[in-house]
């Protein structure tokens, strides 16, 4: 048994912490959020140079090894900083799909583009009525000759407004909930027939509702075999779920730390509010929740890196996401409550972290969904 970080993990953590310390304080983040693209292209290049964009990928694929624990380490630090760069959408979710499904030169070129920081990806999978069921796909892909025509609507597609390429999940055959018949297509974001309603998300990222209206792509835009993309999508989403759980652990830790700090300096009734036992116990509970969340995420990351069966891995991920969801509500709400009025404002980072963890609770399935998935496996 060994819970210590490897040298690489230690280095990753130090690097991200240094970067955040130097370039990603609250004000810098705010100006990035307010900028046109909503992320910093300069930072993105730095991420590429430092090899961070290679973390999710195996060495074979030109990456740093692709361990889930590495990913956890980096995501946790991103969570503390409330980072808005589209790491999850591009390098984790889309990257993991491409790594599984693409082949040969296409794969090399696509992953090279991600790892090198040249391309931005978005994965268009969720639909207005699908909730968190990945197999619920109504968007259609119809092949005729060497062309495929895609139709359908996708919701909350993170990073779509900035993406060069979209990985689009669409159905080639079967009814709405069938596990087979689902394919993934690589589509240039500028292709005719794609329209986007872009927006900022509650946690300061960019996303869009994307609709595909007779979007025509060549058949070789299909990634992997026809109708067989669902298992790969599940693996990619599980990995992304682990990633956001780790991100939440970092953000919760930051919320706890900032709340404790604040309670030591904020005085009411002539004494720091941190001296009230009513609040002390609540902060102790926040600490307990943070630790439980961290433990279960470590458990899940280790499972993903182990020889566990696919089902065991999925179960571990659901355990983590649902337990983290519980921690998110308690720690997030208490952080605001203990800050009082100032916690309710846009002026303090605490409110923004609260909004981030609230969004993370939802992404890829909330506490309830994962609890039920865990129970069903």
């Amino acid at each position: 048994m060994d819970f210590s970080y490897t040298e690489v993990q230690q280095m990753l953590q130090d690097q991200v912490q240094k970067f955040v310390h130097k370039s990603y304080d609250f004000d810098s983040r705010n100006s990035i959020v307010a900028s046109e693209k909503g992320f910093s292209a300069e930072h993105w290049q730095l991420f590429a140079e430092l090899g961070w964009l290679a973390v999710p990928f195996t060495e074979e694929d030109g990456g740093l090894g692709g361990s889930a624990v590495d990913l956890m380490v980096i995501m946790e630090e991103f969570g503390k900083a409330n980072l808005v760069e589209p790491y999850l959408a591009t390098a984790v979710l889309s990257g993991c799909l491409v790594a599984q499904l693409a082949e040969g030169e296409t794969k090399e070129a696509l992953l090279g583009g991600i790892i090198g920081g040249e391309s931005q990806f978005a994965c268009a999978y969720a639909e207005p009525g699908s909730r968190f069921n990945l197999a619920s796909v109504t968007s259609s892909a119809t092949t005729s000759g060497d062309q495929v025509t895609i139709n359908g609507n996708k919701t909350a597609v993170e990073n779509a407004p900035n993406a060069d390429k979209l990985v689009v999940i669409a159905r080639e055959s079967g009814d709405r909930f069938a596990s087979s018949g689902i394919s993934a297509f690589l589509v240039d974001a500028g292709t005719e027939g794609i329209s986007m309603r872009s927006y900022a998300t509650v946690d300061g990222k960019r996303a869009a509702e994307v609709s595909f209206n007779n979007v025509v792509v060549p058949v070789n835009a299909r990634l992997g075999a026809a109708g067989e993309a669902l298992p790969a999508l599940r693996v990619a989403v599980d990995r992304a779920t682990l990633a956001v759980s780790a991100e939440a652990v970092g953000a919760l830790e930051a919320l706890l730390q900032k709340t404790v700090e604040y309670s030591k300096t904020r005085k009411q009734f002539g004494t720091p509010i941190g001296s009230f036992q009513a609040l002390q116990h609540r902060m102790a509970d926040m600490f307990v929740q943070c630790q439980m969340a961290r433990s279960i995420v470590i458990m899940a990351a280790m499972s993903l890196d182990s020889a566990d069966s696919a089902q065991q891995k999925t179960r571990a991920v659901s355990a983590a996401k649902s337990r983290v969801g519980k921690a998110i509500k308690l720690v997030g709400q208490e952080a605001i409550q203990i800050h009082g009025g100032i916690g309710m404002t846009e002026e303090l980072d605490v409110g923004h972290l609260f909004k981030r963890v609230t969004a993370l609770d939802l992404l890829f399935g909330d506490e309830e969904f994962h609890l039920q998935r865990f129970a069903s496996l």
């Binding site: 709405r176 509650v202 996303a207 409550q337 916690g343």
Partner: protein, 399 residues
């Protein structure tokens, strides 16, 4: 023991229902139903309709233009308003400063201020809290120094709800630095147009500047705007705080929202071919909220019954505040959960009437996250829920 309404009360209930159905403007109803923010003009328009009917101030004595209703009638009125979605009048004038003016103001002050409050001609805001005086309100520092027939006010107030609309602000100010902190406070009415006042909006987590910081820089306020005696302001304010805490349970509003929650559950696909209303865990949690709401309603009725036989509002208002706000927040959580990915967009401007772009549908689900964020305030203001628990410990449990 019975909780039935008399036939007169039932007739009154019917009258209120008819009034709302005919008089609450359709465009406002539409906004309320679609989570579009009411503008200042909207709110004033509605309050003036209530005024024309003679129903603007149910809690006021008849001599000042109140309705002369019994506690039960007031309860019926508030319930029907809440169930229908008709907003309660903005409380600052009607429910907060007016009772203080009635109890402690001079005859001249009553005549000068009350009619305009009743007719919604003047918008008031509450200037109590300061950056360093929140829960410990009595430590407030904004000073008022007597200079001839004026007070010169310096300092800053914060968290003033809708202060950007206000014509007047009622303030607690320090007039004596030497006395015990509660004993050097006075109650002062200030015209917001007085030179030296600056209002700085504070944007909350839902993207709306609901509150403001108000700065006072050598603001000269006529001494005739002092309520009652100098240095007695704390006593007056405490009376006002009890008023602020009644009706805080929000039972009618929560009933309305519970219905909306059930509808939303029925309309929300679970992604597996059923709806969220078919999910046993969701059913159970909604049932729990409904039961809590019933217990809350009966707690409120019990305290109402006590008021009706002349008892002053006591620590039971702390129960209503705690349970009412925490239940409202639990509902926010459920709305958010049911809304799923629809709650992710942060487009606060689409909830403003003047928004002209394409609204992201479907309606209420987009507002779910914003409401969840905003309603964290419920357990912070009006005496935080920790302070309410402290009150129960001291005043009831003798701890």
């Amino acid at each position: 023991m019975n909780a039935d309404f008399t036939s007169e009360e039932l007739a009154f209930q019917q009258e209120v229902r008819e009034f709302l159905a005919t008089e609450f403007p359709a465009d406002l109803k539409d906004k309320v139903d679609n989570n579009i923010r009411l503008t200042k003009d909207d709110m004033v328009r509605w309050q003036k309709i209530l005024f024309a009917k003679g129903w603007a101030a149910p809690s006021w004595p008849e001599e000042y233009g109140g309705t002369g209703w019994t506690h039960t009638q007031r309860h019926i009125f508030a319930t029907e308003m809440g169930l229908y979605g008709a907003p309660e009048p903005i409380p600052f004038g009607m429910k907060m400063v007016a009772p203080v003016i009635m109890a402690y103001g001079s005859e001249e002050q009553k005549q000068r201020f009350l009619p305009d409050i009743l007719a919604s001609n003047v918008w008031w805001c509450q200037g109590y809290s300061e950056p360093n005086a929140g829960s410990d309100l009595a430590s407030l520092k904004t000073s008022a120094v007597r200079d001839g027939d004026h007070y010169v006010v310096n300092g800053s107030k914060t968290w003033n709800t809708l202060g950007q609309y206000a014509d007047w602000i009622f303030c607690l100010v320090r007039t004596d630095n030497t006395a015990k902190k509660q004993e050097g406070i006075s109650f002062l009415l200030i015209d917001m147009k007085t030179p030296g006042i600056t209002v700085k909006p504070i944007v909350l987590l839902d993207g709306f500047p609901e509150v403001n910081e108000v700065f006072f820089d050598d603001v000269r306020v006529p001494a005739e705007n002092l309520i009652g005696e100098e240095n007695k302001g704390w006593t007056y304010a405490k009376v006002l705080l009890t008023h602020e805490r009644t009706n805080i349970a929000g039972v009618p509003r929560s009933k309305r929202r519970l219905d909306a929650l059930k509808r939303l559950a029925e309309e929300t696909e679970d992604g597996f071919g059923k709806t969220m209303a078919d999910n046993p865990s969701i059913q159970q949690r909604i049932a729990e909220m409904e039961i809590e709401l019933q217990a809350l309603e009966y707690s409120e009725l019990r305290s109402l019954a006590a008021l009706s036989v002349g008892k002053a509002p006591g620590p039971e208002s702390s129960i209503l505040k705690i349970v009412g706000t925490e239940l409202a927040q639990a509902m926010d959580e459920m709305f958010l959960e049911l809304s799923g990915y629809s709650s992710l967009p942060f487009v606060p401007e689409q909830f403003e009437a003047e928004f002209e772009g394409e609204r992201l549908g479907p309606g209420s689900t987009n507002a779910a996250a914003l409401t969840y964020f905003n309603n964290r305030k419920l357990s912070i203001f009006g005496g935080s829920n920790e302070i309410q628990r402290n009150i129960i410990c001291k005043a009831v449990l003798g701890l």
